[in-house]
C-alpha cells in the first residue's frame, strides 16, 4: 500500500489537521508503511466470523434513564475555554 502526497493531504483535511510541507513526506512514508503492515489481515479467513461488538461476551452498552443528574457547572467548565463571552464559546465568524 503506497499513499501519495495528495492522499495524505486528503486524509489530513478529513481529520482537520494542518500538516506542514516538512511533515508531509514523513507521513506519506510512515502511513504507507503502516497500511502495508496491517494488510496482512486480509489473509485471515474471516468468512462466517462476526465482528467483535464488545470485549466481554454478552455485555452490551448500558442505557440509563434520561433524567437530569448533574447541576449546572458551566462557569467551571468554561474556565478552560480559549474564548468565552456571555457564557458562549467564541469562534471566528462562520456566516458572512
Amino acid at each position: 500500500m503506497s499513499l501519495t502526497r495528495r492522499d495524505v493531504e486528503g486524509i489530513a483535511h478529513l481529520a482537520r489537521l494542518q500538516v506542514t510541507e516538512q511533515e508531509l513526506p514523513v507521513y506519506v512514508d510512515s502511513l504507507s508503511k503502516i497500511l502495508s503492515f496491517v494488510e496482512q489481515l486480509s489473509a485471515a479467513d474471516t468468512a462466517a466470523v462476526e465482528p467483535m461488538a464488545h470485549p466481554l461476551e454478552g455485555e452490551v452498552q448500558r442505557l440509563r434513564p434520561d433524567e437530569v443528574a448533574e447541576s449546572d457547572r458551566h462557569e467551571k467548565y468554561q474556565a478552560n475555554a480559549p474564548q468565552v463571552k456571555a457564557a458562549l464559546y467564541v469562534v471566528p465568524r462562520v456566516i458572512e
Binding site: 495524505v8 486524509i11 489530513a12 483535511h13 478529513l14 481529520a15 482537520r16 489537521l17 494542518q18 500538516v19 506542514t20 511533515e23 514523513v26 507521513y27 510512515s30 502511513l31 508503511k33 503502516i34 497500511l35 503492515f37 496491517v38 494488510e39 496482512q40 489481515l41 486480509s42 485471515a44 474471516t46 466470523v49 462476526e50 465482528p51 467483535m52 464488545h54 470485549p55 466481554l56 461476551e57 455485555e59 452498552q61 448500558r62 442505557l63 440509563r64 457547572r73 467551571k76 467548565y77 474556565a79 478552560n80 475555554a81 480559549p82 474564548q83 464559546y89 469562534v91 471566528p92 465568524r93 462562520v94
Partner: protein
C-alpha cells in the same frame, strides 16, 4: 529512613501504630521526588501542598480512629486521570493549559480510601507510545540506566515506582501501557479486565481497549490498591456491575494444581534468547510449586499487532475529534476562519505520533475502506478472543514474556513506527480480548530487569495476583532497586 522500601501493608501498619505520621511519609517521598525528578522526568506536576493537606487529613482520621486502611499511603496518578483543580495534560501540548474541573472516579475512590496525592506522572502523548518519548514534556528515563527508555505509555508512573519515588502509581493500558513499562523498570503492574475499573474522567484513547490499573513493587501491594480502585460506576457505560473480590484476602491461594498454559505462538521468532531463558526458569519455578504446565495454541494471535493498529487508531481518530480549539485545550493564534482554527489548533496542539494515529484511523474509517480495514480487524479480533477462550478451557492462567527485549536505548526506535509497535506483541492480545493481565519482575539481563506476564480469563484478577504473589514469596526480583535510588 528507608520508608520508601516498605510494602503497602507495612506502611499501613506503621501509620496505624503511629510509628510515623502521614505527613512525615509524604515529606519523605516529596523529598525523593524533588531530588530525582530533574534526572528521571517521571513527574510533570508535583502536588506538594495537596500532598501535605491530604496527609494531615489522614493523620487526623488515624487519630480519631476508624480510618480506611490506606489512610496516609502516598500515590501518584498518571496525568491521563482528571484531577479537580490540578492540570491534567495527558502529555500533550493540547492540554498543557487544561485544569480538570472534576475528579476521575479512580482519583475519587483512591482519595476516599485515604491515599495522599504526590503528583501527576509523565506519559506518552495521549498514551500513544511504547517508550515515553512522545510526551510534550520530554522523555522519562529508566532509573536502571538513564540512557534507556522506561517503556510506555505509563512510563512516568513506572519510573516513579521503580525509583521508589512513590509506593504505587496509577496507569492505563490500551495495548500494554502498564505491563510493558512495569517489565522494563522491574516492578509489578496489573491491567484488570475491561470494565473492572471505571474510566470516568480517564482521557479516552481507544474505548474498546482502554483500562485503568496500578503499578507497585509487588503483587501484594497491587492487590491493596486494585481493591480500592475497582468496582461499578454508573458514570461509565462500560463499567461492569459485579462484586469486587477480596484481592488481598485471596493472595494466599496456593499454586498447587494450577494449570498454567504456555501459548506456543508466544515463544517464536523475535523473542530475545536471554529473555526466553528467564521466562523458562520462571515456568520451571511454577512447576516446582505444584503447577501443571500445559501447551496451548492461539493461531490467530500473531495477527494481534496489525489488528490493534487498525482498531486503536480508528477509535482514537474518533475520540480525539473533541479537541477542536473551541471548548478547552490549545487554540492557535489568529485563526482566519473556523476551518483554519480547527486545523491549526489540532496541527500545532498534537505531536507527530498522535497525528500519525489520527490519520491512520481516519483513513481506515473512511468511505470505501471501512470494510477492508476496520470491519476486517474486528472480525480477526473475534478470532483472537476465540483462541483465548479455547486456551482457558485447558489452562487457568497463561504465562509468557511481557516484552520481547529488555529496555532499549532512548531514540533508537522513535523514527520507525512499525519496530516500535512490535514491542507490544505479547501484550496487545489481552487488550483485544478484554482480559486481565499482569507483569512481574522475573530476573535481569545485565543490569536491566525482565518481566513475566500472567494473563487470566475475564475477572481472573484474584488468580493472577495470587499466582504472582506465590512467585514473589520465592524470589526477590521485585525487591531490587536501582543503586542510585536505594
Amino acid at each position: 529512613m528507608s520508608l520508601h522500601t516498605h510494602s503497602i501493608a507495612a506502611l499501613a501498619e506503621g501509620l496505624a501504630a503511629r510509628r510515623f505520621s502521614a505527613v512525615e511519609l509524604a515529606e519523605h517521598f516529596l523529598k525523593r521526588i524533588e531530588s530525582a525528578n530533574p534526572r528521571l522526568n517521571a513527574f510533570v506536576t508535583i502536588t506538594r501542598e495537596r500532598a501535605l493537606a491530604d496527609a494531615r487529613r489522614a493523620d487526623e482520621a488515624r487519630a480519631k480512629g476508624g480510618a480506611p486502611r490506606l489512610a496516609g499511603v502516598p500515590i501518584a496518578h498518571k496525568d491521563i486521570f482528571c484531577t479537580d483543580g490540578i492540570r491534567t495534560s495527558c502529555g500533550s501540548r493540547m492540554l498543557d493549559n487544561f485544569v480538570a474541573p472534576y475528579d476521575a472516579t479512580v482519583v475519587e475512590k483512591l482519595a476516599r480510601a485515604g491515599t495522599v496525592l504526590l503528583g501527576k506522572t509523565n506519559m506518552d502523548e495521549f498514551a500513544m507510545g511504547s517508550s515515553n518519548e512522545t510526551s510534550y514534556y520530554g522523555p522519562v528515563r529508566n532509573p536502571w540506566d538513564l540512557a534507556k527508555v522506561p517503556g510506555g505509555s505509563s512510563g512516568g508512573s513506572a519510573a516513579a515506582v521503580a525509583a521508589r519515588l512513590a509506593p504505587a502509581a496509577t496507569g492505563t493500558d490500551t495495548g500494554g501501557s502498564i505491563r510493558q513499562p512495569a517489565a522494563l523498570v522491574g516492578i509489578s503492574g496489573i491491567k484488570p479486565t475491561y470494565g473492572r475499573v471505571s474510566r470516568y474522567g480517564m482521557i479516552a484513547f481507544a474505548s474498546s481497549l482502554d483500562q485503568g490499573g496500578i503499578f507497585a513493587a509487588s503483587a501484594e501491594d497491587c492487590a491493596y490498591l486494585l481493591h480500592a480502585m475497582a468496582g461499578f460506576d454508573p458514570r461509565d457505560s462500560t463499567s461492569v456491575d459485579s462484586p469486587v473480590p477480596d484481592y488481598v484476602g485471596e493472595l494466599g491461594t496456593p499454586v498447587k494444581g494450577l494449570r498454567i498454559g504456555l501459548v506456543k505462538e508466544f515463544f517464536g521468532e523475535g523473542l530475545d534468547a536471554a529473555t526466553a531463558a528467564l521466562v523458562q526458569a520462571s515456568i520451571d519455578r511454577y512447576r516446582r510449586l505444584g503447577a501443571e504446565i500445559v501447551e496451548v495454541s492461539c493461531p490467530s494471535l500473531p495477527l494481534s499487532v496489525p489488528t490493534y493498529y487498525v482498531v486503536a487508531p480508528a477509535e482514537c481518530s474518533s475520540n480525539l475529534s473533541r479537541f477542536d480549539g473551541v471548548r478547552f485545550g490549545y487554540r492557535c493564534e489568529n485563526p482566519k476562519d473556523l476551518l483554519d482554527l480547527y486545523k491549526r489548533s489540532r496541527g500545532e496542539g498534537f505531536g507527530a505520533e498522535v497525528k500519525r494515529r489520527i490519520m491512520t484511523g481516519t483513513y481506515v474509517l473512511s468511505a470505501g475502506y471501512y470494510d477492508a480495514y476496520y470491519l476486517k480487524a474486528q472480525k480477526v479480533r473475534t478470532l483472537i478472543a476465540n483462541d483465548f477462550r479455547r486456551a482457558f478451557a485447558a489452562a487457568d492462567l497463561l504465562v509468557c514474556p511481557t516484552s520481547p527485549t529488555p529496555a532499549f536505548d532512548l531514540g533508537s526506535k522513535v523514527d520507525d513506527p512499525i519496530t516500535m509497535y512490535l514491542n507490544d506483541i505479547y501484550t496487545i492480545g489481552a487488550n483485544l480480548a478484554g482480559l486481565p493481565a499482569m507483569s512481574i519482575p522475573c530476573g535481569f539481563i545485565g543490569h536491566l530487569p525482565v518481566g513475566l506476564q500472567l494473563i487470566g480469563p475475564h475477572f481472573g484478577e484474584s488468580r493472577i495476583l495470587s499466582a504472582a504473589h506465590a512467585f514473589q514469596r520465592e524470589t526477590d526480583w521485585h525487591r531490587r532497586t536501582p543503586a542510585a535510588y536505594a
